[in-house]
Amino acid sequence: MSSLDFDIAHLLAGGLVLISLLMLYQDRLTALINVFAAQAVTLSLSVAWQAYIQAAPHLYITAAIALVMKALVIPIALHRIIKRLGIDRELDQVVGVGPTMLAGIGLVALSLVVMLGVNGEGDQLAREDLAFALSVILLGLLMMVTRRNAVGLVVGFMSLENGLVLAATGAKGMPLVVEISVAFSVLIAFIVIGVFLFRIRERFETVDVTVLDRFRGGRQ
């Protein structure tokens, strides 16, 4: 593998981590969805690049799915949802930006230590890709914890799935079954969530998930 191939793969995977960090401090939902779309574009570029250097044409399908579904269809749908719910100007952040960013940086450092500390044979690219992927996954989790709006949760979950796709494509020769299943799971997840968002709206007149907690009170 030439060093240029390696560097470009690195650049794109690193870009994903950077965009994950950007997502952490977006306090407006519209901005959050736009940044998510940017991450999806980067992901699709990264997957396409892996398809090229691994000479694995089936990965182009994964790249196309990422581009169409995650960069176009889902962001557009989410924009429409938040407009219909009238929450497109709402602020949404539970923890302050400073602590969240510090936690995010800590998680990236953690995943680098964990993955690069794993010694042994195997190609370096796969290992570093996994380190980036783990960072994106952990940042996605962090985002899910720091958001209280259902739309924010959904975006956090999808960015977590972006990390999974990065890991799956970085593992050379991984069977197609898994890539398609990942793409499908996003699709299914989205349908389910779509149903839920509207139901929640119908019942509670809000998508703020903290409101849901009051139901726990009397029942234990």
Partner: protein, 477 residues
């Protein structure tokens, strides 16, 4: 087509048909027939074992789970028929939702069968994800605020768990790639286990942490259990029975598979201590939480967390005796807990409430339901002569023999849970009856049948099954 294909085809075809049929009598009957047919096919696997392929395969470990799952799947469908009839009468379920419910029941059976017979860790993951999504939809089927909250929580936590499990699966593939080569081979279970000794141990360790946390969420181990009580309490009761009796087992099966993989690699860290710790935490935590429950279905949901803790503890200890105890406990727990949920389902229907404080004196107003509940709770609390006493005794005695210090928290947890369950039973079953004495058209056969099996296992365990369980226990290492 081999028996494995048929085992998948029956629920898939039944789901498609049930999605189209209106009328609950016909669809409930069809649901039962499909489950019975699946049970027949599963039982045939005991005698004739079809050859495995790259995707599907059945072996000595999975067949225990397959037969148990098909059996409880069938009895639950019998219970479901009478339960659903009542729900339709009181108007809690509309015809459209009922159709959806029956179709989803078979999709769930399909997903669980697929997870159990998959010979491919990617396929197994897909199946468990499908089972999760199906149960999320079923928990939400009543569309009440509480049901939606429960489903939403289950969906978010379940998805995160499933995502972590996928990352673990990818790591296993990355560890396998240098040894078995690229492509499909790196995901086929039989190839993985044969070559596991040569895998990079550090990657395997890391993979197991993710798999344990991911699938452990689905098993309902504390502190990853938050979805479980809500999902059990707010969905239809047949689903609570299937969740506790089957789906938790399927997730546990996935954990056990990967535990075997780690055990096959001498340089990898022992997976036992992690499972023992999570198991003990779940047991003790759930034991104390049982005292604070006010909802009867939540009470038994916490009891499921407690028992999954015991099972994870037993498998974490490892060795032939503890593994045997774990398998036995898992089987007994599935049978007992689903029987309890069958009973609780009918009780909640006649009393019109799930609040423990509003349900009193059941043995007076509904002798059969009341005494079945008494028997079920005594069985689940681990009192003799029921089968759970046998398995808990084996877990405790094997722990005393090897790690006496670990036996102290184990016994403490068991006693705490016992006290909570008996204290609650007192009020539920005896004393001045609460209003709601209408007779029920309950189907007593499933619950009494399950408890009879558990009792029989406690009194006399057939040597043939003992030998078979011992064989599987040795496989588990």
């Amino acid at each position: 087509m081999s028996a494995l294909g048929i085992l998948l085809l029956i629920p898939a075809a039944a789901a498609a048909v049930l999605a189209l049929i209106p009328g609950y009598r016909l669809s409930a009957a069809l649901n039962m027939m499909a489950s019975l047919a699946a049970l027949g096919v599963a039982a045939s696997l005991l005698f004739i074992r079809p050859p495995g392929g790259l995707y599907l395969r059945v072996d000595d470990l999975s067949i225990v789970f397959i037969v148990l799952s098909a059996f409880v799947g069938f009895t639950t469908s019998v219970f479901s028929a009478s339960y659903i009839a009542h729900e339709v009468e009181v108007g809690k379920l509309t015809p459209a939702r009922l159709r959806f419910y029956h179709a989803m029941y078979q999709v769930l059976m399909f997903a669980m069968n697929l997870a159990l017979i998959a010979n491919n860790i990617g396929l197994m993951w897909v199946a468990i994800e499908l089972a999760t999504l199906t149960t999320v939809l079923m928990v939400a089927v009543y569309r009440t605020a509480e049901a939606l909250e429960a489903a939403w929580k289950y969906f978010i936590l379940g998805s995160v768990g499933i995502a972590l499990a996928l990352f673990g699966t990818i790591l296993v593939y990355v560890a396998a790639k240098p040894v078995v080569g690229e492509g499909l081979a790196g995901m086929v279970w039989t190839t993985l286990i044969a070559n596991a000794h040569a895998f990079d141990p550090a990657l395997l360790n890391l993979a197991f942490v993710f798999l344990m946390l991911g699938y452990g969420t689905k098993v309902g181990l504390a502190p990853l259990h938050a979805w479980l009580p809500d999902a059990h309490a707010e969905g239809p009761t047949p689903i609570s029975a299937v969740l506790s009796g089957l789906l938790l087992n399927v997730a546990l099966y996935a954990v056990l598979r990967f535990k075997m993989l780690l055990a096959a690699n001498p340089a990898a860290v022992a997976p036992g201590p992690l499972m023992v710790t999570l198991g003990l935490v779940s047991l003790i935590f759930a034991g104390f939480m049982l005292y604070r429950r006010r909802d009867i279905k939540r009470l038994f949901a916490y009891s499921s967390i407690e028992h999954m803790g015991i099972i994870a503890f037993a498998f974490g200890m490892g060795g032939p005796l503890a593994n045997f105890a774990g398998l036995l406990h898992m089987t007994m727990h599935s049978l007992t807990k689903s029987a309890i949920f069958f009973t609780v389902g009918h009780i909640a229907q006649v009393k019109g409430t799930q609040r423990i404080a509003d349900i009193r004196g059941l043995t007076v107003t509904h002798p059969i339901l009341g005494w079945t509940l008494v028997a079920g709770v005594m069985a689940i609390a681990g009192l003799p002569p029921f089968g759970i006493f046998t398995s808990e005794f084996l877990v405790v005695s094997s722990t005393f023999a090897r790690q006496p210090l670990l036996a102290i928290p184990l016994v403490l947890g068991l006693i705490v849970a016992l006290g909570a369950l008996l204290a609650r039973l007192q009020g539920l079953a005896f004393g001045e009856p609460s209003p709601g004495a209408a007779p029920t058209r309950a189907s007593y056969l499933p619950m009494i049948g399950h408890l009879a099996l558990v009792l029989a296992a406690g009194v006399f365990f057939p040597p043939l099954i003992t030998q078979w369980f011992q064989h599987v226990a040795r496989l588990l290492g």
